[in-house]
């Protein structure tokens, strides 16, 4: 049993806001739901499956399903941080394949910018989180839990700050064509290296933006997708994983993508060299580099050389990535980048990315997300899609 071609993404919407102090998180979810359903050409009453994660206010899916006026017969509030929305697409495809729902709606929204969230603030974790007593005194914050992975990668493989900076340069090259992007100015490798050091070896420009906003997706049975006006995007394969500290055998040289990626490729029946466009979660530059290696786009340890010299720039390099500008430049709503990764991959497969960054005849795309902290424990999800 596989989800290969059992479900299609027929609605995708990224909220244009990047700062929304006058809207509630629930309202942003609803605006994203409306946008994705309008994009699909479906109505609210068509939705019979609802998916959301920890950014949704209230208890699991209960509050938002009620707020949105839904009567779902299938719900899923799996939360693996920023990778959750890729997991949701996979779970929605599974539910559709099993006949548990026909039209699945996935929403994400948040206001971390208006609420003053930051990558150097202590991460709030619920009482009883078992790792907190052993780690909180050492002040792990988002950025240093990625910096630890970056430093180990540099130590083991000779990766350099210049190579990491190329990831930001590629994202910024793409972002200049996105009118909604938070940061639209192109940058150079030197600009990245000259930006303030936040936590060695990560500079400010190695870090993603903090933005308000959200997004939504609609996943449907193939017969429904074919009856609608939008180009049909098939889900081919998916993988998910949780990687932690391995009982104290900590290994920062790989991410959970090393586990979720092969599962997705196997189900999809394709290989990394077949992929024409990749959305790769870019919470930090190091996140991209490690996932690219772990997905098999290059050999482990050679990611630095792979990402350098514009190799991720659409029309220039071998692996066009994050053509919306990604989390590094465009948008990182709710501090969870997985949703926007899927949305840009759908735009590419539909041929609706900006003409300056559209991959010619884009028929096969991958979206990769991580969620949580690369340096301690994180979820990973990989999704492979095709233009029918």
């Amino acid at each position: 049993m596989s989800i290969r071609r059992k479900a299609c993404i027929t609605g995708a919407y990224e909220h244009p806001t990047r700062k929304a102090p006058d809207k509630t998180v629930a309202q942003l979810h609803a605006e994203c739901a409306r946008g994705a359903l309008e994009d699909a050409g479906l109505r609210l009453e068509d939705v019979d499956g609802y998916f959301c994660a920890g950014d949704a206010p209230g208890l699991g899916a209960n509050s938002m399903a009620d707020y949105l006026g839904l009567r779902p017969r299938h719900v899923d509030s799996t939360d693996t941080g920023g990778s959750a929305y890729l997991v949701h697409v996979s779970h929605a495809a599974q539910a559709i394949a099993m006949g548990k729902c026909d039209v699945a709606l996935i929403t994400l929204a948040g206001r971390p910018r208006s609420e003053g969230s930051s990558g150097v603030a202590p991460r709030l974790t619920g009482a009883g989180t078992p790792d907190v007593p052993w780690e909180a005194p050492y002040a792990p914050v988002t950025v240093n839990m990625y910096a630890l992975a970056a430093n180990r990668h540099m130590h083991e493989y000779g990766t350099t700050s210049e190579q990491l900076a190329w990831i930001k340069v590629a994202a910024a090259t793409h972002a200049q064509y996105n009118p909604n992007a938070m940061l639209r100015e192109p940058v150079t490798v030197d600009d990245v290296l000259a930006s303030p050091m936040i936590s060695d070896p990560l500079h400010r420009l190695d870090c993603c933006v903090v933005s308000d906003g959200g997004g939504a997706l609609v996943v449907v049975r193939p017969e429904i997708a074919r009856s609608l006006k939008r180009p049909v995007v098939n889900i081919l394969g998916a993988g998910e994983a949780i990687k932690g500290q391995l009982n104290g055998q900590v290994d920062l040289t790989f991410s959970g993508a090393a586990w979720s990626g092969p599962r997705a490729f196997e189900e999809a029946g394709v290989k990394p060299s077949d992929i024409q466009y990749a959305s790769i979660y870019d919470s930090f530059t190091i996140t991209v580099l490690m996932q690219i290696e772990d997905l098999g786009f290059c050999e482990k340890g050679k990611g630095g050389r792979f990402v350098a010299d514009g190799n991720l720039i659409s029309g220039v390099g071998k692996l066009p990535f994050n053509t919306d500008g990604g989390g590094l430049c465009n948008n990182h709503p709710a501090n969870r980048g997985g949703m926007t990764k899927v949305i840009e991959a759908v735009r590419q497969l539909r041929g609706e990315a900006h003409p300056k960054v559209q991959v010619a005849h884009c028929g096969l795309a991958l979206a990769q997300g991580t969620g949580g902290l690369l340096g301690s424990r994180h979820g990973s999800a990989t999704l492979i899609m095709e233009r029918a």
């Binding site: 790792d131 792990p140 950025v143 180990r152 936040i198 936590s199 104290g248 900590v250």
Partner: protein
């Protein structure tokens, strides 16, 4: 560049049934880890049930010596820079910690370190690591 270590507020220690024996030991200058009574494997962070086999676990004194697996000096998360690190203990488990009592800019992966204890705001003694001499 030189960034000399400075003490920073550590907050209060979290005292619960899982941590109490550990912090009782750190108050006496001892670092303990957990071993499984069934499979005998050590693990970190300490848990009452073994994460390899769900067997019961027991405390064991560690020598408090190890090597830095990775480190990052966090410079902009507050007024005081600090070095967060993973330290691989000689007993074979790797723990998150801070590197202290040195020039933080001189700290590097592969360096030998030994445990020292720093008081949290409530007096709980928190294990951290300082570079060995020479």
């Amino acid at each position: 560049m030189t960034t000399m270590y400075q003490d920073r507020p550590l907050g209060a220690g979290v005292h619960d049934p899982a941590t109490e024996p550990f912090f009782a030991a750190t108050a006496n200058g001892s670092l303990r880890i957990k071993l499984c009574v069934s499979c005998r494997k050590p693990h970190w962070y300490p848990r009452p049930l073994c994460p390899y086999c769900l067997g019961d676990t027991e405390w064991s004194d560690a020598a408090g010596k190890g090597v830095i697996y990775s480190v990052s000096v966090t410079r902009r998360a507050g007024p005081i820079p600090y070095a967060i690190a993973y330290v691989r203990l000689d007993e074979g488990v790797t723990m998150l910690s801070n590197i202290v009592d040195c020039d933080l800019d001189s700290v590097c992966i592969g360096q030998r370190v030994h445990v020292v204890f720093k008081p949290a705001d409530d007096g709980t003694m928190i294990p951290m690591f300082a570079p060995d001499q020479g």
